[in-house]
């Protein structure tokens, strides 16, 4: 998928969980990635973060770390 789309999707998820305390929010985003993102999508976002993760919400960036 195009990186722009992926970042948009990840940030939407992050924004939903952003209303919760940080630990809970990071866990929520991580869990969402694990439950609903197919492995090649997770691989893509992991690689994207490895290259700086430009444009990703902090919670998404944090959550991606827990995917590795």
């Amino acid at each position: 998928m195009e990186a722009e789309n992926m970042v948009h999707m990840a940030n939407q998820i992050a924004l939903f969980f952003a209303s919760y305390p940080k630990d809970e929010a990071v866990a929520g985003v991580t869990d969402h990635f694990k439950k609903f993102w197919e492995p090649r999508m997770r691989k893509q976002i992991i690689e994207y973060v490895a290259h700086g993760g430009h444009g990703l919400h902090d919670l998404a960036l944090e959550a991606v770390k827990h995917l590795q």
Partner: protein, 947 residues
């Protein structure tokens, strides 16, 4: 099976705590107080002759045929309007009654075509049956006096005719339109001899009539009669089955003459529809034998080649070898499948099973992705199960009905009739919708509050409503304390209580006056049983899942879950949306909504299917298309879905399919997706197979084969053949065996079998040891997940914003006469009402642009542009335009964007920033479509070798 004849008890069943015992023709009978004599007689097995009475209508007492004698009372009262009394002795057949009835019947017959009495061939009717029942053998009165025998017929409706010569003005049709359908389109015009049934002094087709068929069904004289019966003759057998249109899941009798359907009659014992119907289920079934049906399998190397007809074996083997080739070249995860919400549970179960077991991956998805996937996510998160909480009949106990983002009179008409009946009885109504839908104000129904919010602001609205509940002390504290997770509740309470969530603070976003929001919130919280009904106006947003959770929050806070008359009720779009979700069609879960990563669950499927299964989620439809464009997804099996027409951003979707090496489409027709396919496998209509559908109230209803599959195979047999060819053998002799397997593997279906459904008619899941007869209402005594979980629902405006270039918001939906992509209804006479999609636009917006009614206009968004005719409509609010997506040539989804729900990727069909302008010619896309469609639907008719 013979022709099914249902008993008509004459008047509706009454409910009373008191029973009354009386004697009818010497037989003792006990019935609830308030019952009529005619009903009590029928319950005792005594049929009193009648014409104006029917057990779905309130008694009227006009025909004077159901007269009886009662000991100790003078005269011969009508048994339909006389209530039972303890100790009554009633006689239904005496010389005096026989004479009176024959005299009455003779008078009716004197102004009625009487060919049948002289041996002429006519369609039988209740009128004839009654004439025979009362012993009428001749009519002594001539036709020289005034009569109605030359009155003009009204043939204007495509499906039925009105012949006033046969009308006895019993008012059954008028009362059916009022009491059953709730449209009030018919009346009796004139007085005395001039009295006549009238559709408002105009032909039926031009009237308010919605062609639900209730009047035709009610007519005892064939004055109103189906044209199909007139053309094909009377049926000789009937098969009870479930409608294949919307999520109401009406039960019908398919009435047949040989293997030809003569008519579809709503089945009185149907628990979802109680003998009612709409124009689609009742009349729009001609598509099943339409000439466009593709009855031979076809293949081609490239989608720009002409199709070549082949044998079933060749098509199946070709598809299997292509899928195997692709997997060998690009990897196991390079192919997938899409199940259909129009197919049966058994068929969707098999498709996802084939994907998981034969393809060896979890790349299975369903069209529910683009409609109610947020319902599944939101309900499961908050309540623990992905389904509506109530049965339809629950609405009869609702005191305040809140309709959000749904248009039941168009999209779920039979349930809308039930809802309107409750509203006429006095229930209050709150409508939250950008458009002034019919429920806001129609005959004898008026919303107490219409909150016409701007598209995309549902969550702002639900938070504002919740704010009022929380800050004005309207929370049902004992309920919350007993039923809900208190920590989550406190978190939520603090959130919604913040001033930024108040109706006043949200008013600029929603556009709705705060005072109205406050009043509506108070009504919902304090008006008794509060029931929320919602549709795709909730789910098809970037915050669709958030909104579902927001509605559950509101219902839990006010104690409106877990009893009759309340709840959160998704009105499902297609006939089997609920079922396709229940059957494990989503890429992340097995049947019964259990995640593929749950080891014990996965192991149970591995043991049953005898194959290792993946524990990772697969691709959603939109992900498949993205992956195709990335070059990692190359093959797709699509059963009964048309993703090119129904999914957003048509050009993106088409490009994704065009990038694949093997697309297999299984359908009744060469749909839009088939334009990009390499293999076409003929599908079977709901009349041609056995199985089950599950409606919006979790009701599992039987679909029964009425005629053989026209192409030789039912859809489930095609999937079995494909799986076998792929090297994963499936051994089923009948769909009942598939359901048995589903029941073995799915705790919520453990008690379900075809035998059970044949016995009880239908059942609502969960149906298992704990609930052997099913579960009409969920969460009684406690939520499925244990404690109800409040979720914080921050309002986050969509990224699809209006600006100077795209200053209007487009929202899309459907209308009464057409269904989804129109593949079925466009191939029926329903086109009389809607032969093209139009753009509804407010007069002010139209005037600004110099647009007049009927002008061709261009509708442009960031995704693309189309042209279509304009309809000036005050149903719209300024700044918002609306269209439908029923016609492929319109291409409404060329305009919609890929923005989608954050949790489920459900597309945001309801918010697209657009511009509308006068157009001189059709759009470039439409021009391109016309050419490519012609190219991609060519069929080379070489005779295939026989199977």
């Amino acid at each position: 099976m013979d022709l099914i004849r249902e008993i008509d008890y004459g008047t509706p069943k009454r409910v009373s705590e008191t029973n009354v015992t009386l004697e009818i023709d010497g037989k003792s009978v006990t019935v609830p107080a308030g019952s009529s004599l005619i009903r009590a007689a029928a319950e005792a097995g005594v049929q009193v002759p009648k014409l104006c009475a029917s057990d779905n209508l309130e008694p009227f007492g006009s025909c004077r045929l159901c007269l009886v004698e009662i000991d100790g009372r003078p005269g011969t009262p009508a048994s339909c309007t006389t209530p039972v009394a303890a100790g009554m002795k009633v006689r239904t057949q005496t010389p005096r009654l026989v004479k009176l009835r024959r005299g009455v019947m003779e008078l009716y017959a004197s102004d009625h075509p009487m060919d049948w009495l002289n041996g002429g061939k006519t369609v039988s009717s209740e009128f004839q049956e009654m004439a025979e029942a009362v012993g009428l053998r001749e009519v002594r009165y001539g036709r020289s006096g005034k009569n109605h025998q030359n009155a003009e017929k009204d043939d204007s409706n495509p499906y039925f005719t009105f012949d006033p010569a046969k009308c006895i003005v019993c008012s059954r049709c008028v009362r059916a339109c009022d009491e059953v359908q709730g449209t009030f389109a018919l009346t009796i015009d004139g007085r005395g001899f001039a009295s006549m049934v009238s559709a408002g002094d105009k032909p039926f087709i031009e009237s308010e009539c919605v062609s639900c068929g209730a009047c035709v069904q009610a007519c005892p004289t064939n004055s109103l009669l189906e044209k199909s019966v007139m053309q094909k003759g009377e049926a000789d057998r009937s098969v009870v089955t479930t409608c294949a249109y919307c999520g109401v899941g009406c039960s019908f009798k398919a009435e047949l003459k040989g293997d030809e359907v003569v008519r579809m009659m709503p089945y009185k014992d149907g628990k979802a529809n109680h003998g009612h119907s709409c124009v689609k289920g009742r009349f729009a079934w001609g598509y099943a034998t339409h000439k466009d049906r593709i009855l031979k399998p076809m293949i081609r190397a490239k989608f720009t080649d002409p199709w070549r007809e082949v044998t079933w074996d060749e098509a199946i083997n070709h598809a299997a070898s292509e899928f195997k080739r692709i997997q060998a070249k690009y990897g196991r995860d390079s192919i997938g499948g899409i199940t259909s919400s129009r197919c049966t549970d058994e068929e969707t179960y098999l498709v996802q099973k084939m994907v998981r077991a034969a393809f060896g991956n979890n790349n299975t998805d369903t069209c529910a992705r683009v409609c109610h996937s947020p319902t599944g996510y939101g309900m499961k998160t908050t309540l623990g199960t992905s389904a509506g909480t109530q049965n339809f009949d629950s609405v009869e106990h609702a005191d305040v009905i809140m309709v959000i983002g749904a248009n039941p009179t168009d999209a779920h008409p039979v349930f809308a009739s039930q809802m309107k009946r409750r509203l006429r009885q006095g229930a209050k109504l709150i409508v939250i919708d950008p458009r002034r839908i019919d429920l806001v104000k129609s005959a004898h129904v008026k919303a107490d509050y219409h909150l016409p919010l701007l598209p995309g602001t549902n969550v702002a609205m639900i938070n504002a409503l919740a704010h009022v509940v929380v800050t004005e002390g309207l929370v049902d504290e004992p309920y919350v304390k007993e039923r809900c997770d208190l920590a989550a509740f406190e978190q939520w309470r603090n959130f919604v209580a913040e001033k930024r969530n108040s109706p006043e603070a949200m008013e600029p976003a929603t556009g709705v006056p705060a005072a109205d929001v406050r009043a509506a919130a108070r009504l919902y919280a304090t008006g008794g049983n509060g029931a929320i009904y919602y549709g795709l106006g909730v789910t098809e947003h970037s915050q669709g899942s958030t909104m579902v959770m927001g509605m559950v929050n509101l219902a839990m806070a006010t104690g409106n879950i877990g009893k009759d008359g309340v709840g959160i009720n998704p009105l499902r779009g297609q006939n089997n949306v609920q079922g396709s979700c229940d059957m494990g069609s989503f890429p992340h879960e097995f049947t019964g909504y259990r995640h593929v990563s749950e080891t014990a669950v996965r192991e149970s499927f591995e043991a049953a299917w005898k194959v290792p299964l993946q524990s990772e989620p697969g691709l959603r439809i939109s992900n498949m298309i993205d992956a195709a464009l990335d070059g990692t997804f190359k093959g797709l099996y699509i059963q009964g879905e048309d993703i090119v027409q129904s999914d957003p951003n048509t050009q993106h979707m088409s490009a994704g399919l065009a990038a694949m090496e093997c697309v297999v489409v299984q359908d009744l027709f060469l749909n839009e997706t088939a334009s990009y396919a390499h293999v076409f496998l003929p599908g079977s209509s709901f009349l041609e197979k056995d199985g089950t559908f599950i409606n919006a109230e979790r009701r599992i209803g039987m679909v029964r084969k009425a005629v053989p599959p026209m192409a030789g195979k039912a859809d489930w047999e095609v999937t079995v053949a494909l799986s076998n060819a792929l090297g994963y053998p499936m051994h089923y002799n009948h769909p009942s065996e598939i359901m048995d397997e589903i029941a073995r593997l799915t705790p919520t279906f453990a008690g379900v079998s075809f035998d059970m459904l044949d016995r009880v008619g239908s059942v609502q899941w969960p149906c298992n040891e704990k609930a052997p007869m099913g579960t009409p209402i969920m969460h009684i005594g406690g939520m499925v997940r244990g404690k109800g979980r409040f979720m914080i629902t921050e309002f986050i405006p969509t990224d699809e914003r209006v600006n100077a270039r795209f200053p209007l918001i487009l929202t899309t939906g459907r209308i009464l006469s057409q269904y989804n992509v129109g593949a079925q209804t466009r191939r029926t006479d329903n086109n009389v009402w809607h032969d093209m999609d139009v753009l509804e636009i407010h007069p002010a917006d139209a005037e600004d642009r110099g647009i007049k009614e009927g002008d061709l206009v261009s509708l442009a968004s960031r995704s693309g542009d189309i042209t279509l005719p304009a309809r000036i409509s005050e149903r719209m609010q300024p700044g918002v335009v609306y269209t439908t997506f029923h016609h492929a040539m319109t291409g409404a989804n060329v305009v919609t964007t890929e923005f989608s729900d954050w949790a489920t990727s459900c597309p945001e069909y309801k918010v697209t920033a657009v511009q509308v302008q006068l157009a001189r010619h059709i759009s470039e896309w439409q021009e391109h479509y016309r050419k490519t469609r012609e190219l991609t639907t060519r069929i080379s008719h070489e005779t295939p070798a026989s199977d």
